[in-house]
């Protein structure tokens, strides 16, 4: 099996995880796929540097997190336009979203609005807390896996998750008090 075939298999195996991880940060399908593409290109260019100390998935998650954070930094000025698009449901929430809903339309709209409020609050919490909670809630990674990705200890991850929830609650309460 040559390099290209190995790489093709790698993309096939991990594309959904990488796209979903990036989506956890940027909350838009198209942007998530753009970033995921960059992740795989970087993996292709730097595969020779992969020492095998961590698993392949851990390595890819690390690249995905870094690329996503870079994209967020560049996107700062666009975030207000994105917020308006989301509130007006102008974003392309297409068939690739797996989540099913048995709610009636009114409840569905209410849920989507609360989701958007939660996503906005997620954007306000400190970066490390955001990384930990995104990997935990979007990718369902275990503490151990998150610790490997973030190159820290499990107890540090536990602390980050706990503080992330506290930060989220604080931002949400502030939002609901004022709205």
């Amino acid at each position: 099996m040559n390099n290209k075939e190995v790489f093709r298999q790698l993309v096939e195996d991990y594309k959904d995880k990488v796209v979903n991880t990036c989506f956890g940060f940027v909350h838009q399908q198209e942007d998530a796929e753009d970033i995921a593409q960059e992740v795989f290109v970087e993996a292709w260019l730097n595969y020779h540097k992969f020492r095998g100390e961590a698993s392949l998935s851990t390595w890819l998650y690390r690249i995905a997190v870094n690329k996503s954070l870079d994209a967020l930094r560049k996107r700062k000025t666009r975030k207000y336009i994105d917020l308006i698009k989301n509130l007006l449901h102008l974003n392309n929430e297409d068939h690739n979203q797996i989540k099913e809903s048995n709610l009636d339309p009114l409840q569905k709209i209410e849920t989507e609005e609360r989701e958007q409020v939660l996503i906005n609050a997620l954007d306000l919490i400190p970066v490390n807390q955001k990384i930990a909670i995104t990997l935990a809630k979007y990718e369902d990674l275990s503490m151990k896996e998150i610790a490997e990705v973030m190159e820290t200890t499990e107890s540090a991850v536990e602390s980050l998750l706990s503080r992330a929830k506290v930060s989220l609650r604080k931002h949400l309460e502030e939002y609901y008090k004022n709205n």
Partner: protein
Amino acid sequence: MNANNYKEKTEKTMELLEALPKVKSSAYFQTRVEASIELLNTNKVYSFNLNTALRYAFFIMIIVLNIGVSYSYLKSNNNSKETRESMIQELSGTFFTNSTDNYSLTNQ
């Protein structure tokens, strides 16, 4: 606003943390990744050829210049040498001619 109201809304929103929407890659995602890798490799080959070609062209130019300069130098040297040789021959010719004449005159 009622204190319980916003706390209740907060908790209700926090519950969504356990059910965040997950996405999958689109149908053409794999194709676009492979295409971008292909493009990367093509560009690498292209830039390699251009750089190499320019490098070779530069060396060839240096060599040609050196040859040209050396040739001109040697040619100009040869010209000087030929000029000297012809001058020497002329002078020699004159000398021997004169010598012969003198001999003839002497032997008369």
